[in-house]
Amino acid sequence: MILLVTTAPGGNLPKSARELVTVARQLAGGGPVAAAVIGPESAASQMAEYVPQVYSLSAAELEPARAEAVTAAVQQVAAQAGATTVLMAANRLGQSVAPRVAVRLNAALLEDVIKVSGTAGAYEAVRYSYLSRVTETVRTVGGDATVITVKPNVFPVADAQPGGSVTSVAPQLDATATRVQVGQRSAATGGRVKLEEAGVVVGGGRGFGSAEAFAQVVEPMADALNAGVASTRAVVDAGWRPYAEQVGQTGKSVAPELYIALGISGAVQHLSGMNRSKVIVAINKDADAPIFRIVDYGVVGDVNQVGPALTEAIKAAKGS
Amino acid sequence: MIGFELSDDQKQIQALARNFVKDNVTPVAAQHDRDETYPATVVEAAHEVGLLNVSVPEAVGGLGLSMLDEAIIGEEFGYGCMGIYTILMASELGIMPLLLAATPEQQQRFLAPLVEGPRLAAFALSEPNNGSDAGGLRTRAVFDGDEIVITGTKTWISNGGVADFSVVFASFDPALKHKGTVAVVVESDRPGLSTNKLHGKLGQRASPTYEMVFDDVRVPISNMLGQQGDGFKIAMRTLDKTRIPVAAGAVGVLRRALDESSKYANEREAFGRPIGQFQAIQFKLANMKIALETARLQTWYAAWLADNDKPHAEAAAIAKAYASDSAFDAAQEAINVFGGYGYMNEYPVEKLMRDVKLNQIYEGTNEIQRVVIARHVLQ
C-alpha cells in the first residue's frame, strides 16, 4: 500500500499534494493508494476526488504542524493503512518529518526525488546532489519500508478520479509528541504569482545596493512579466525582502521558463535553487561574476540602469 | 626521506591565510594602491586572527611559527596584494635580528608588545647613498657612557613611520668597515627621530615607505643587539633568511598572474574561439606554470633548510632571485595576454607587474643575490 501524506494550509490541497498523487499512482501501478490529509475535513474531502481511501487528521494538536506530533500521526495511519511506502512533498515540513518517520518505520529514505520507480523494497530514484551539480540514481537496499520525499514542481499534477472515501482518524498523541510549544508564527504574504509555480521569475541580489533600489527595479519588471519575485539569501538576511522569496540551497527551488537574475553574483548556494530554469538571463556590473558562467544571455552593466531599460523594452514588446 | 605534503596545521594555516586575504585584502588592494593609503583595518584584522608577527617566539607570547609557515602565509598574501604583504613581511624583517641576536630580556622587552596589538617592527639598513654596499654605512653610532647616539639618514624603510621600533644599523668606526658596525633597537618615540613618508612609488603603494632621520637620537646601550662589531653580520644573517618570504610573496604574485591569465584566456575570443586555444597564449601560460611550481618548491626548500638549521644562504638567494624574476616576467606576460585591457588599471594585471618589480630590488637586489650564489659556486 502506498500512502501519501500532505498538509492543507488554509484548508486547501496544495499543488504538491496532487503531484504526490501522480507519483503514488505511478508506483502503485494499479494497486492501492491511500492519502493522509492533515488539516480540516474539507481538505480530506477534496483529496477523495483523487484517491480511493483518505484518512482525515483534523485533530487540534496537529495544527500548527509539529514534527514529532505529525510523525506519530503518520506512523499510526501507516499502520492502519498497512502502508509500506510513505510519500511526502520535499518541502520544509516534509524534510523535517520524513526522516523521523523513516526511523520509526525502520524504512529507507529517498529524499527530494525527481524520478522514482520500482516496487516496495526495490525502489530506484533520481535526485540531485553536490549542491545540485550532480544527478544521481539511488536504490533502496534495505529497510522494512520506504519513505520518499518528492521534489515540488517536478511531477505533473494528477487528474481527478472521484469516488474516494474519507475516514477520520484521531491520532494517539502522548506527552512526548506534543512537548514542543509553538510560539509566534509569521507568514509571508504577497499578491504575486506563487514563486514555485511562476513561469517567469525575476530574482534580485545585493547588487542593488538598497531595499528601495531592489523594489524600484524588480517589482515593475515582475509586474510587466506577471512573474514571481525571488531573492538571494543575502538580500533576505539584510531585511530587504521576505523569506518567502528566498531561492537557493536554504530556500526554494524554482525551474521557470525564464529566470532573470539582477544584481546576483551567482554563489553556488543560490544557483542550486534556480539553475534548472529553461532560460537564464543575468545583469550584473561585474564581468567576472560567476552567474555569467550559467547564463543564456548576459549584460554587464548597472542593474539600476539596465533593469528599468529592460522593463521598458518588455512593455513595448508586449504592447502595453 | 623527502616529503612534499603540508602537515594538517600547515593546511589550516594556508586555508586561514587564503580566506583572510580573500575577505580582507583583495577587496581593498586596488584602492590602497591607487591612493597610497595605509590599510590600517587590514593590519588590525590580521592581528586579530593571529597572522601578524607570527615569528615572535612562544617564550614571549608569540606563535613562534617556522619559515615554512611564513612562506605559506606569504604566498597567500602575495596573491592578494604584494604591497599589503610587505607591511607584514617588513615587520617580520624587523623582528628577525632580535631572533638571531637579542637576549631573552631584550626579546621580552621589544617582541612581547608586538603580539598585544596591531603593532609593527621595521629594519633600517639602507641609506640614501648606500644600498648594496651594506658595509659602507654612513649612519653614525657614538658610544657615550651608557647610551648610544645615532645620527644619520635611512631611506626605503618599510613601516619606518608606523612601527613601534626599528632595528638600525650604524657604524661606530668607518675604518673598521663592516667590523665597525652595530645593530641597535630604536623605539619610535625617541626624541630626534623623524620620518617622512615617501610618495610616488611605482608599485606596492599600500606599503608605507619612509625616509628616517636620526638627529642625535639617544638610546640606552641595552638596546644594542649582540656586541659592538656584530651589526653587519646580524644584518646579513637576517637577510639570508628573510629573502625567503620575499620569494614566497613573489610566488603568490606568480600564481595570481597565472590564474587571471588563464581565466581570461578561457573567456576572451578572437578569430572565433577562446584565445586559450592558441599556442602563443598557451605557451605563456605554460611558462608561468613552470615558474610557479619550481619557484614554490625552491622557496619551500630554502625554508626547510633554514628551519632545520642547515646552511640556507645560497638556497634562499636562488629562491628570491628566481621567484621575483619569474614573477615579474609572468606579470608582464599576463598584461600581454590581456592585451589592451591589461594596460588599464581596471584590470588587475598591470598592478602585479608594478608590485613585483620591487621584489627584484629590495632585501638584496637580484644582482647581489647572484653575487651570493656565485660566491657559493666558486668557493
Binding site: 520544509r92 550532480v134 534495505g142 508564527r185 | -
Partner: protein, 251 residues
Amino acid sequence: MKLITVLKQVPDAEARIRAGSGGVDLDGVTFVIDGMDEYGVEEAIRLREAGNDVEIVALALGPARYEEAIRTALALGADRAIHVETDTDLDPISQARVLAQVVQHEGADMVLVGGKQADWDSAALGPALAEVLGWPHSDWTTKLELAGANVTVEHDTDDGHESLTMPLPAVITTQQGLNEPRYPTLPNIMKAKRKELAKRSLDEFGAGSGLTQIVDQQIQTRERLGKMVEGDPATAAAELVRLLQNEAKVL
C-alpha cells in the same frame, strides 16, 4: 552542559565536480568543513562565551580526510573531537543510528548539525538523529536561546518562520543567519594540535551496509548559450528582448 557538534567535510562550493565512469571524481578537489555545520560549531562557542559552563565535542563520521575538518572545528573552539573513521558511504538514516550511539554514550544535552549536507544535498541527518535519540528537534534554526531546562528557537517554515520552545536534550539544525562563523585564529589552530581527537571504528556500532545505495552519478550538464549582449542600457535591453522573443521564445 555538553554540546555535540556534528560535522561533515564536503567539496568546496566553488570546486569543479567531475564525474567518471558512473561516479563522482573527487580527485584533486579542495575539501572544507561543511559551511552549514560551521554555524553549529560557532553557536556552541557562543553559548560558552555567553557564560554557560559548556564542553564542546566535535563529532564526525567519514573517511580519514575528514580529519582536516575536525581540526578546523577544534581550532574554532571545540574542546575535543571524536572521529568514527570509515570509507563506507552510509545513507543519512544509517549514519544517524551510528551517531546516536556516540551521543547517548557521551550524555549530551544538545546536538548541533548543519541543516543540509552539501554533498548528499540531504536534510535528513538532524531529524533522523533526533528520532533515534527520542529527542525533539528544530530545523533551519535562525535563533537559539537557552531557557533553563528548555531551549527557545526561531526556525524557518514553509511560509515564513515560527518560534518553538522545547525541552533539552534536543537536536538543532543550523543554517546561515543563525550566526556569523569566526575565523579559526592562528593561535587557536596551533592550540588545536594538542586537543584530543579520539578515533573509533565503524565496526563498533553495528551499522550494517546501509539502506540505500548510489548506483550512478552524472554531472548535471546544461548547455547554456552564454551570449553577452553589449551596448548602453537602452540598446542592450532592446536586443535582449528581441533575443528572448525570437530566439529563446520565452517572451
